[in-house]
Symmetry: C2
Subunit: 392 residues, 2 copies
């Protein structure tokens, strides 16, 4: 039978990612290609105990249907943390629970993007956002990321000339680059946006994971009515429960709620209740500090090995937090070659290609330093070095 | 600030449902308005024990990221059940896990519907489908439901004249009517569809809940390549975990998987693992038989009371399964009046209005018989009878 799919399906970027992950899932391959948190950093016993309490004390309600906005005690916890940690005057009414940050991307695109609408992004930009947005057929305008945030001249011209409905950015430890916006650029971004019709989509998946433990001021602080923040427990507690949230002004949240209801009624209540119980019986600050310390060590180790082992002309970012860095390859070496030769050598990296909406990424690779341990980082970097020296 | 939302947001049906549920959530109100399974029918202890085993034996993997298609053992269980119960040659490769049936609706619309595309539905049609589809801006063509399924002449003319990309139906114990397609109409629907470009979306949320325990032959049996089936554990195990699935031909499932990945990467793995463990250590057939028996008794009780207590001119459907029936009001009585007077009297019903894409429903109400116990059904029907006698 000849199936007649919607036109938008042709706009979805070629999913060579699935292929990459299949290829790199060979036993023995050390993978820097994914984005998993360290399994050792997931407190399985603590979460199991929280689950036991939920079943014992509120099992029957936690297994029933619930409201679209999400489990109130969890939304209160999140709002309270914004108030205490970042000085943002959040209330539970401004929080909507979603299935991890990825669903925030889909729903935001659904409520904001008509086919042909302009959408601003960083260059390189997060591939999950590119994928989610593409279903709504926008025209992307990419703003180059510099060491301390977006190129402000290009950013200003995108906002002025194209009036995007959304600008999507990750100011804290960006995926894929690992870059963090400076305070100056946060203010400048807010000033340029002020008075425009562009909503700033501030993806904050990594803000809790700065190696120095110091929170950075969100752009939302400067233009609260014009910013929505998305957050997630995937990187700090556990991704398998698929619980994230959006924190947005009431008029945006209203549309968001409609879209969420139509998308899947509500996020799974059992995991919301388990997470809430876990968060209220454990020291999240301490947990996050321990996780960030582990990732900080991994990151320093990886950076040192890149400096020591790789051929001349290969450079890399130096993240202050998060789980990714990006390396630029020596002239003439292609990221797809590094990927294919790498898998044969037993090390997987992610070519930069899917992070670019306008071509590019052929000379960069993304490296993840959270999923694998120190020993594997050492061995994996030596394997990568052999590949690189062969290719230059 | 003036937010610039996408055009599709204006196409979303007025959500008076939220308002209705708020109004009817007054303490003391007996609600026939919702669609919850009986809380007593949820095996909290069994699910808690399954969760304990998952944490003990596979906690670390169940809390990590996973693949978009879903947890393989659960998909195998579902496929195996299709083979044994309905004689459909399903394999795990043809199953995609989603967040309850509602997400199947959203994703199917996303992959099949361009703005302005024709979509066929039953009249009345399931409001969750109307909501989900509306975001993709289709033109709805509604086919009247008769006692034994769709009006075949209208069905045929919709398929021939409008060539919808999708026809969405609920052959088993439809929501809201409670109607079940006869075998004759299932075959006729398949024959009319054969050779057309229309995919039949066979929503099977209630197929396990026939009061006589006898499975009905799915339309997919007759036109397998042209039918996708959606199913859900919400009505038979527990809705709070938000686990459903789609069973579709490979070319459809491929697009579905792309859309699911962009929408939220994957459904929560922890609940998939818990459900799988529960299903493999419990007697699902026995459980479903017990639940269907309870709902069957509730349904007969409600039907008897409607016959005995309501004024002349009020009629109702006689479901063979599921959790809903629809009552037609005596001439001149409006469903919104019954709703408002009902809440004052302490009983909530759902006006038929949101189930019609082309006006209608002002003279019908949907009644749910799963969420409340027998005593409440008796008391609630007496309250409703007082309202009805006042209004005629």
């Amino acid at each position: 039978m000849n199936y007649r799919f919607a036109g938008r399906m042709k706009r979805v970027p070629e999913s060579f990612l699935g292929e990459l992950f299949r290829v790199s899932a060979v036993p023995g391959v050390i993978s820097f290609a994914g984005g998993l948190p360290a399994s050792d950093c997931i407190d399985v016993d603590g979460i199991a105990e929280a689950a036991r309490q939920v079943f014992a004390e509120e099992g029957r309600t936690a297994l029933q249907y619930s409201t679209t906005d999400g489990y109130l005690p969890l939304r209160e916890f999140i709002a309270d943390r914004y108030r205490r940690r970042l000085g943002l005057p959040a209330t539970a009414d401004e929080i909507q629970i979603v299935n991890g940050s990825q669903q925030s991307l889909d729903l935001a695109a659904k409520i904001f993007i008509d086919p042909g609408d302009a959408v601003g992004m960083e260059r390189p930009g997060y591939l999950g956002a590119i994928e989610a947005f593409s279903f709504y057929e926008p025209v992307f305008h990419a703003v180059p990321l510099e060491e301390d945030g977006p190129d402000l001249a290009v950013f200003e011209s995108v906002i002025r000339d194209h009036a995007p409905g959304l600008f999507y950015g990750i100011p804290n430890s960006q995926n894929p680059s690992g870059t963090t916006y400076s305070d100056r650029k946060r203010r400048a971004v807010a000033e340029i946006l002020e008075g425009s019709e562009t909503v700033f989509y501030e993806d904050d998946a990594f803000g809790e994971l700065f190696f120095d433990g110091r929170p950075r001021v969100p752009v939302k602080r400067y233009i609260p009515e014009q910013t929505l923040i998305s957050g997630s427990f995937s990187k700090i507690i556990a991704p398998g429960m698929r619980i994230g949230w959006i924190y947005a002004p009431a008029p945006i949240l209203r549309e968001f709620n409609l879209a969420k209801q139509a998308a899947d009624l509500h996020s799974n209540l059992l995991c919301q209740a388990i997470l809430n119980r876990y968060l209220r019986t454990h020291d999240l600050d301490g947990h996050v500090r321990r996780v960030a310390a582990v990732y900080g060590e991994h990151c320093r180790l990886m950076c040192d090995l890149l400096d020591d082992l790789m051929p001349a002309g290969m450079t890399h970012t130096r993240p202050e937090g998060g789980i990714f860095l990006t390396a630029a390859l020596p002239r003439g070496v292609s990221s797809m070659e590094v990927f294919h030769d790498g898998v044969r050598e037993g090390v997987a990296v992610l070519p930069g290609v899917p992070f670019y909406v306008d071509g590019g990424g052929k000379e960069t690779i993304r490296l993840n330093f959270s999923a694998v341990g120190a020993e594997e980082i050492v061995e994996g970097m030596h394997r990568l070095a052999r590949v690189m020296h062969r290719l230059v």
